[in-house]
Each structure stands twice: as C-alpha cells, then as structure tokens.
Amino acid sequence: MAENRRNGDRDDDEIDRLLAHANPNPQRVGCLPQEVLTSLAARRQPLNAPGYEHLLECSECYREFRRLQGEEPTES
C-alpha cells in the first residue's frame, strides 16, 4: 500500500504508456524546473499545483517525474 501510494499502482502501466509518449515536447517548451519535478514526485505539492497540468501535456517531464519517483514508464 505504501509503495502504491508513493509510486502509483503497478497495474496502471497503460496510463504510463499513454502519458509518457502521447505528448512529445522535444523543444522542451514550458518545461518544469528540476526542483519542481522533484517536489511533485515527492508529493510535496498540493493536488491543484499547476505542475500537474504540465505533466499531462509534456511526455518528457512526465518521464522525468516518474524516474524521480523511482519508476520507469513502459516503452510504447
């Protein structure tokens, strides 16, 4: 349970696959600073933190966010 709360359920790999590859942002437009990603990954930000919106729009940041959680999104 604690593991799931920190990293998200492992049976949700399809969500990882979607968010990690649906929004390529190779020019890294509007990307989050590393400290913000670290803070999001550690759940030190509230649910309404704007950084979460960006994670839905930038696969590069989402993959980094997951890496910081100790998870590697599945390959598409």
């Binding site: 349970m1 799931n4 709360r5 920190r6 990293n7 998200g8 359920d9 049976d11 949700d12 399809e14 969500i15 990882d16 696959r17 979607l18 968010l19 590859h21 649906a22 929004n23 390529p24 942002n25 190779p26 020019q27 999001l40 990954a41 759940r43 509230p46 649910l47 309404n48 979460y52 994670l55 839905l56 966010f65 997951r66 959680q69 598409s76």
Partner: protein, 191 residues
Amino acid sequence: MEHLRTIGLLDSDGQPFRPHIERVLIQLLPRLRREFPLLQDEVTLAEVMEEAGRRIRHREERGQIERLHGYAWVTVRSIATSRMRQGSAKLHQKTLDSDAGNARLLATPSSRGTAAEVEQTVLLRELLRTLSREERMICLWKKAGFSSQEIALHQRRTVVAIDTIFSRAKQKIRKALGIDDVADAPARRSC
C-alpha cells in the same frame, strides 16, 4: 452485468441513484444487452444506464412514475439508439482520409523516430484526448501516489465516484490499446 452491479451506477453528482431506480436499471441490463448487442463494453453500458437514471430522477421530480419499468425501458432504449448513431457518426468524424492523415503525421513534432513511432504517438495523443480533463487528472494524481480519498476530498466527490471514474478511464485506455481487461475488477472502495 456483474461489473455494473459491483461498481454501482452514479448520478451526475457522483452519488448512487435511489435504490428503486438502480434496481429497475439493473433489471433492464440483460434486455439492453440482448436488443443492442453492439453496445458491449461496460463503460458504454454504464453511461447509457446512468443517463437513463438521471432522466428518470429528473422526471420523478414532477411526480411519481406510474409504470416505472416501462418508462425506464423506453428511456434506456432511446438513449441506446442515440448512442448507436453517435458511435458510428463519431467514428466517421474522427477518421481522417489518407491525405489528412499524412498531413497530420507530417505535422507531428519529432526530431527522431520511425514512421511507426510517429504514428504511435499520434494514436496515443488522440486516445488521451478522448479522456475528459477530470479523467486525465485523476489518472495522473493516482500515478503521483495520491489516494482516492485525497482526490475525492479535493474534487468534492465521493471515494466511490473517484474509483469509478478511474476504473472507467483505465478501461477506455485498455480497450483502445487492445489490452485484455479481465484482471481489472474495480473495487467498491480503495485507499
């Protein structure tokens, strides 16, 4: 049918329907499946039933329905018929012809990757767009490790509603990705 019984049907405010409405809707499920065999996936069936439940509840605000079972079936049938039309129309609207498809592929930003990878990206992006903003946010918050309870508090919804939305979002994704869904029996409550 067991699936819908397990997760329950929810009103627009995320609350369960009153028992007599839910009971009549559950009773009509076999008939809905029989008469509309193309409406097979649980998400669509639940959406049809929930829309019917909302209409029945709305109608009951003006007075008791004398023959609830009959009224409910006519309502369910009407919504299901409308869904069938929408379904084929939506498919048609979302299908690009070859020229438009090529244009979309060429416009997709990619400094690397094969054509297959670019195509996969387009498909995933289109799939992401089929989810509502709330579904996307709940999926992300779950991956961030927030509990259903925390999300429910933030969204001012019930834990059951959050679990149901999350479960259906996953079903939509799995269905679109062609992943078998047998292992996903949504719980009534989670952490």
